[in-house]
């Protein structure tokens, strides 16, 4: 088997294990390339179906095409879509783009807090109704105990230490120094009441592997990733106030792969366009301990 087949087989195995072991299971979909590959791998694992609900935390500062793309795929692939957001912070304008918080505070509030409360069912969830094509507000949902996330170990230091199945306590805290053992493809699928487990099927994938797989499988991705004539493209998608496009003339998947293999990005970290990582020395590490994905 070549490296993509090996990676695919392991990810499919992990997804099936999660589906077998967790009754309240959800997959986070950021609309970016990684979690879209993850969604594709779920369709691989379940033979064309997507039986696991997808959750998107909408900060309402996403690039608008991302939302269009999300809803098109959701309809086409009949996804069970759940959207969550921090309506209180948005209404009171306690955000970085409104000038009322730092970037990290904004992330913690619009992403981490919204995620935590939407997962637990404390906050409302917006569910896509496939008959009308509209999102319907629902309250009182059950807490999810298994959360599938598209984190990759090559993104930065703390992610490189994750387990495939990683326990989180009631506060969503991650105890990096005391993770349970994981061996021979036996994962942590037993958990105490009130705790939940995060599942990382893409840990072994690199940014290059993601694009190689998108090419091999012909997975639809949003064209924000491509240069549309202005010599810039997004390498990583996030909220528009904090994610800068990179200078690049890659117009399609093949050109992105060349750029990552031997071109200008062969040795430049993917998250270099994310401003919140630069606010303190360990931005992402700080966020992750507090429940960021």
């Amino acid at each position: 088997m070549d490296h993509l087949e090996t990676l695919e087989s392991q990810s499919v195995f992990i997804l099936r294990e999660a589906y077998r072991q967790f009754k309240q299971l959800v997959m986070l979909w950021s609309i970016g390339k990684d979690s879209t590959v993850l969604l594709w791998l779920a369709r691989k694992a379940f033979f064309g179906h997507a039986p696991i609900p997808l959750m998107h935390i909408d900060t309402c500062f996403k690039v608008p095409e991302m939302i269009t793309y999300r809803d098109e795929l959701a309809r086409q692939w009949k996804l069970n879509m759940i959207v969550g957001k921090n309506t209180a912070a948005l209404e009171s304008k306690q955000t970085f783009p409104d000038g009322n918080s730092t970037r990290l505070e904004c992330c913690a509030s619009l992403k981490s807090e919204a995620l935590k409360k939407t997962l637990s069912g404390e906050w409302p969830r917006w569910i896509l109704d496939h008959t009308t094509g509209e999102y319907v507000r629902r309250v009182g949902g059950e807490a999810f105990t298994g959360v599938i996330v598209g984190a990759r170990a090559d993104e930065e230091g703390s992610r490189s230490k994750e387990r495939y199945f990683s326990a989180r306590d009631k506060q969503s805290d991650w105890d990096v120094g005391d993770q349970p053992p994981e061996l021979w493809n036996q994962f942590k699928t037993d958990f105490a009441p009130g705790t939940h487990v995060r599942i990382h099927p893409l840990l072994d994938w690199t940014e290059l592997n993601i694009w190689e797989y998108i090419e091999r499988e012909n997975i639809p991705v949003t064209d924000l990733y491509f240069d549309r004539g202005q010599g810039i493209r997004y390498r990583s998608l996030g909220c528009w106030p904090c994610t800068k496009p990179v200078e690049s003339t890659a117009r399609n998947v093949q050109e992105i792969i060349e750029e990552l293999r031997s071109g200008k990005f062969a040795n430049i970290a993917e998250r270099s366009g994310r401003e919140q990582d630069k606010e303190d020395g360990n931005g992402l590490e700080t966020l992750r301990r507090r429940g960021y994905m």
């Binding site: 499919v12 053992p181 994981e182 061996l183 064209d223």
Partner: protein, 614 residues
């Protein structure tokens, strides 16, 4: 702005580039012997580091007025930089001319042995690092020993920090001698010993002028020389059943048995056997999404199959091929285990065993020897196994499991043990132990010997109630209306003045079983049901109860626990058990009244309700 265009799904093309394989390598050894430096140097010297990362770490060192070290590249977590040791296994990505690597940097401190094991168990080959100045230390040996247990056959030893001993060949030779002797006792033969200084890059990717006396291979060359285990495909076929899918609601009628092929290969039309149930069928199709239709599949692939006949297969069974050596099945096995739990491993305590796809309750039956993995000294007569110890033990499972012996097929010959939600140990199976009696049978014999009996005998109760006590067990698929039937039967018999009681599943779960997680603990639930049934039948009552999808073992366990009481089985629809015929088979409930009449006739014929008149 252009709209988002969704491409049509097409069958994936194979791609034009040369295929490369991928290998996971673990770096192990005693704390402070320089594992992280070896990895950092390897990444830096091969140009595999992201630009941002090197600059970021160097800038951080400058801010904190610390000299830059290659190890900092990996120990990117705040905790680890403060302590200067690796806590958890970190993955690094790295490419050579011939393949893609994931390098797993494992911690060397004994406190983090579980992290070292987690890292090493993911690897196909290992680099073991020994400090030339400190020499072979406790965890150099312990890690070396555990590699064999973890199934890693390829190891190379890097003797590091040769610069600190003046690049002295004598120091290197002495370590080679000492460590070779240790490894020989564990049955492991290293591929190479390499003298290096990771800090200065000696013999890492090119041979060093500082050690003209060494004319072996560099670290990078040694990695590229490791080989993939190709023989997996040539072994007998094994695929643990991970799950069984039927996406009927999505308009898909395929019943797909999903799993990863661990060894061997399988083709459409071949006859397969499932263990431990022993059921067999033929492969009708091999299922995958978004690929051309395939006639066969081989080790490493996560696939699905459909079968020619609809047989009842459950997750956790092991699929093998008819005509090839099958796995062993049984309840007792001997294993070499390592224990990582916070609490010691004890006899008479229930644990959960996860073996390939199976999950079963297990008890430690006996401890034969306990080994110090560093000193290789053994102890017998131990009552429990402490954290970080290695031991040879006998385990007994509640129900039969299918397995191979680890030397034959490692993937289906090893297991982990769960204690209080955590993976607390791992083991490799060395022997099957044939046994005539089961835990449940022994328990029932002991219970019968010690039971406090009253002055009222069973015939006295039968005479009083005008009936013979029995457990009427209604089984079949979930959702067939078994509970409603059971309740209606109770109402009917009660109206006929019978001493009868309906025990509902949820009542039992809410009552005596409220402390167990009923999703994962079906066997324990059924065991308790059997014990409760025994009380009712002993009291002379006709107990009516339901349980979905009982298999042979579960039925046998319930009947045995209910002894000396009788068990009468009414099955609705298809059934999983084969070893006995149901006392009454109902294909479809249809009219509940008719079914109740049939059950009463059967109970009457079998003399449980002797005075019953039609």
């Amino acid at each position: 702005m252009q709209g988002t265009e969704l491409k049509k799904e097409v069958v994936a093309s194979s791609g034009s580039r040369a295929k490369r394989d991928q290998m996971n390598i673990v770096i192990i050894g005693h704390v402070d012997h320089g594992k992280s430096t070896v990895v950092g140097r390897l990444l830096a010297d091969t140009g595999s580091l992201p630009q941002g990362k090197l600059a970021q770490v160097k800038a951080q060192c400058e801010r904190n007025a610390r000299p830059f070290e290659y190890a900092f590249l990996l120990d990117a977590l705040q905790d680890e930089q403060a302590q200067g040791i690796t806590i958890d296994s970190a993955r690094c990505f790295f490419k050579s001319a011939s393949r893609e690597y994931i390098i797993i940097d494992a911690p060397g401190h004994i406190e983090f042995l579980k992290n070292m094991i987690s890292g090493a168990a993911r690897a196909e080959a290992a680099l073991l690092v020994i400090d030339a100045k400190e020499g072979v230390r406790e965890n150099s040996r312990r890690h070396g020993y555990l590699l064999g247990m973890l199934g890693i056959k390829q190891v190379a030893v890097c003797v590091n920090k040769l610069d600190l001993v003046g690049y002295d060949k004598g120091v290197f030779d002495a370590i080679v001698e000492e460590y070779s002797q240790f490894l020989a006792k564990t049955g492991m033969v290293p591929k190479a010993f390499i003298p290096i200084s990771a800090r200065y890059g000696d013999n890492m990717i090119r041979l060093s002028e500082n050690m003209g006396w060494y004319n072996g291979v560099t670290v990078l060359g040694t990695l590229d020389g490791f080989t993939k285990e190709l023989s997996l495909r040539d072994k007998v076929f094994r695929m643990p059943v991970q799950d069984v899918y039927k996406f009927t609601a999505q308009g898909d009628d395929r019943r797909i048995i999903a799993g990863r092929i661990e060894t061997g290969a399988v083709s459409v039309g071949e006859e397969v056997v499932f263990y431990p149930s022993g059921k067999s069928s033929r492969i009708a199709s091999i299922e995958e999404f978004n690929v051309p239709v395939k006639q066969s599949a081989f080790a490493g692939k996560s696939i699905g199959v459909t079968l020619e006949t609809q047989i009842y297969v459950v997750p956790g069974e092991l699929m093998a091929k008819s005509g090839q050596a099958g796995p062993k099945t049984g309840t007792q096995l001997r294993a070499n285990i390592f224990w990582l739990g916070k609490h010691p491993l004890l006899g008479h305590k229930r644990y959960k065993m996860k073996l390939a796809g199976a999950q079963v309750p297990v008890w430690l039956k006996s401890i034969e020897t306990v080994l110090d993995a560093s000193e290789l000294t053994t102890e017998s007569n131990r009552q429990q196994i402490e954290r970080h110890e290695v031991a040879q033990c006998v385990f007994e499972t509640l129900k039969p499991v299918a397995f191979d012996l680890a030397p034959d097929i490692a993937q289906t010959g090893r297991f982990v043990l769960i204690d209080n939600y955590e993976i607390a140990g791992g083991g490799i199976i060395t022997d099957q132990i044939e046994t005539k009696t089961s835990m449940i049978a022994e328990h029932v014999t002991r219970r019968s010997e010690q039971w406090q009996r009253s002055n009222i005998s069973a015939p006295q109760r039968a005479a009083r109630y005008g009936q013979r006590a029995a457990m009427v067990l209604i089984t079949g698929d979930a959702g067939t209306g078994k509970a409603q039937l059971a309740k209606a039967l109770e109402t009917d018999l009660f109206a006929g003045s019978r001493a009868v009681y309906y025990l509902g599943l949820s009542n039992s779960l809410l009552g005596v079983d409220s402390d167990i997680d009923h999703l994962g603990e079906r066997d324990e639930y059924l065991r308790r049901l059997g014990e409760i049934a025994h009380l009712f039948t002993d009291a002379g009552i006709v107990l009516i109860t339901t349980a979905s999808d009982l298999d042979d073992h579960e039925l046998e366990m319930l009947a045995m626990l209910n002894k000396p009481g009788d068990t009468v089985v009414v099955n609705i629809g298809p059934r999983r058990f084969n070893s006995r015929e149901p006392d009454l088979q109902i294909n479809d409930i249809g009219s509940r009244e008719d079914v109740i009449i049939k059950i009463k006739e059967m109970l009457s014929e079998q003399k449980y309700l002797p005075e019953y008149n039609l």
